[in-house]
């Protein structure tokens, strides 16, 4: 029988190492947990037990919820036309191009290619946000459009993940109906309920959110859909409430970053086969290149129509080529559900991680446009 406390100590030790590194070198905790997870999975006796899988699963659901709760409806509304067009094309172009390459050239099956397309269609709003905070770009019109477009791209990714592999039967109908009702009433019910129960050490608010996420997640799984789909949508409808209630958002982040997301990111890293990284380096590079080129195909003409300068186009396109959270969630979904194998997972996750780093550095180094408030 496994020594669960040994495993718990090992997982938490790795999470602590990643945290300390993150504080020291100012790289996100998520990326470092994946990296440390790669080392743990390849060189340490790290086991992915049932309870680890459970915590990692809750981590991914909560991460998606938090990402949805960051969608600023005001920004989205003010720049709807531009952000919707850029966001949709930023999802569709890489999704179709990567899927086509994986299917026709790399010889992957259709479901495997679909996972590849979804994992590399994403854009990381958080990666973009941290770049923009440093340049002050988050305050500019272009910055706001890029962030709003990213929310749309993420929504495309989550919808594709929830729809493409689902069973279309009575379970799906029930799931859609219940989710529709919950999403309709949640923005009104939640503030009322939170006022009633008040803020307490027993965290009734957090428990309520978990109940909704787990309940809808259960229905999603029954319909062979994915629990991150309702999590993102619940986050989106509650975003106006969470953006105002900073303390509640802070408490939920503490819960997530302490005990849940470390298991998710460490697990995502631990499943990477280092041998596959070397043997598939070319394919990883090609996938990354296709993702960036496809983002150009989708976004560049649109930006031209909206009369942005060439430098602004370049900067936007490169930033929209970044990916991390939803890319890793999609790849892990494929592996967990037996759609892709561990080698394909390694290829996709490595390409996703590279897409967080490479386009960001190029955009910051050579294409940062002048500020226009």
């Amino acid at each position: 029988m496994e020594n669960q406390w040994f495993q718990a100590a090992l997982w938490m030790g790795l999470a602590l190492v990643a945290t300390l590194l993150s504080v020291r070198i100012a790289i996100s905790i998520a990326l470092l947990e994946i990296m440390v997870g790669v080392i743990g999975g390849n060189y340490l006796p790290l086991e992915r037990t049932e309870w680890v899988n459970f915590l990692a699963g809750v981590g991914s659901i909560l991460l998606t919820f938090l990402a949805g709760a960051e969608v600023d409806p005001v920004v989205l509304k003010n720049k709807f036309k531009e952000s919707m067009t850029i966001g949709v094309l930023s999802f569709l172009a890489p999704f179709l191009c990567v899927m086509a390459y994986a299917y026709y050239v790399a010889g992957w099956s259709l479901p495997e290619s679909q996972i590849a397309g979804i994992a590399l269609s994403t854009t990381s709003v958080a990666v973009i946000y941290s770049v923009m905070i440093e340049s002050g770009y988050n305050q500019t019109e272009l910055g706001k459009i890029i962030i709003a477009a990213t929310f749309i791209t993420d929504l495309g990714t989550v919808l594709a993940l929830g729809i493409l592999f689902a069973n279309y039967n009575w379970h799906m109908l029930g799931f859609i109906l219940v989710m529709g009702v919950v999403l309709f009433f949640l923005p009104k019910f939640t503030p009322w309920f939170f006022r009633k129960v008040g803020s307490r050490i027993s965290e009734p608010e957090t428990k309520f959110i978990f109940l909704v996420l787990f309940g809808l997640g259960a229905l999603a799984v029954m319909a062979k859909s994915e629990a991150v789909l309702p999590a993102y949508l619940v986050g989106m409808v509650l975003a106006p409430f969470f953006l105002v209630n900073k303390t509640l958002s802070h408490r939920m982040r503490v819960t997530a970053f302490t005990m849940l997301t470390p298991f998710y990111f460490l697990k995502a890293g631990s499943l990477v086969k280092l041998s596959a990284v070397w043997s598939s380096a070319l394919l990883i590079g090609v996938f990354l290149l296709i993702k960036v080129v496809a983002k150009f195909i989708g976004i560049w003409p649109t930006m031209e129509i909206f009369r942005f300068t060439k430098k602004e186009n370049m900067y936007t396109t490169l930033l929209m080529s970044t990916g991390l959270t939803f890319g890793s969630i999609s790849a892990l979904f494929g592996l967990t559900n037996g759609i892709i194998n561990q080698e394909q997972y390694t290829i996709l996750l490595t390409a996703v991680i590279l897409s967080a780093v490479v386009p960001t550095i190029i955009a910051q180094k050579w294409f940062q446009p002048e500020m226009k408030k």
């Binding site: 100012a26 790289i27 709003v125 990666v127 946000y129 941290s130 982040r253 960001t360």
Partner: protein, 140 residues
């Protein structure tokens, strides 16, 4: 001689000494006094906006306190201190802010790295001095 003075304030002992010198010079030349504090550790490649926001929340709390103290010290000398907190790389942000604000004097505390790091890359103060668009005083 100096009309617009900028002090880089990271809350360190060196910065406190620099602030004293800057206040003295602002008083002597009847100059405007500004300070810039740089949030240097914004996590790159974050998974959620929340991670970045949590870092900024902590950093802002820290800089809010040191800027209040600095403004209070300047006020005692009858000078208004205009404060600014900005995220970014320390050297790049300070140099750009000095350029954009047309400052004619930048006052910094001596900010040393470890000996090995300093020899290879140059210390923060060395790099700021090298790249600054205006006169720099490094206070030790």
């Amino acid at each position: 001689m100096f009309k617009k003075i900028l002090i880089a304030n990271d809350g360190s002992e060196g910065a406190k000494k620099a602030l004293k010198t800057a206040i003295d010079l602002a008083d002597k030349y009847n100059a405007e006094l500004h300070s810039i504090s740089v949030e240097e550790g914004v996590p790159h490649y974050a998974a959620t906006i929340g991670e970045v926001e949590e870092y900024r929340r902590e950093a802002n709390g820290f800089f809010h306190t040191i800027n209040d103290e600095a403004a209070e010290e300047a006020k005692k000398a009858g000078i208004t201190l205009h404060v600014k907190v900005q995220a970014g790389h320390e050297v790049e942000t300070i140099v750009n802010y000095a350029k954009e604000g047309n400052f004619d004097l930048l006052v910094i505390g001596f900010m040393g790295h470890s000996k090995i790091f300093g020899r290879v890359w140059g210390s923060t103060s060395q790099n700021i001095t090298k790249l600054s668009p205006c006169t720099v005083i490094v206070v030790k």
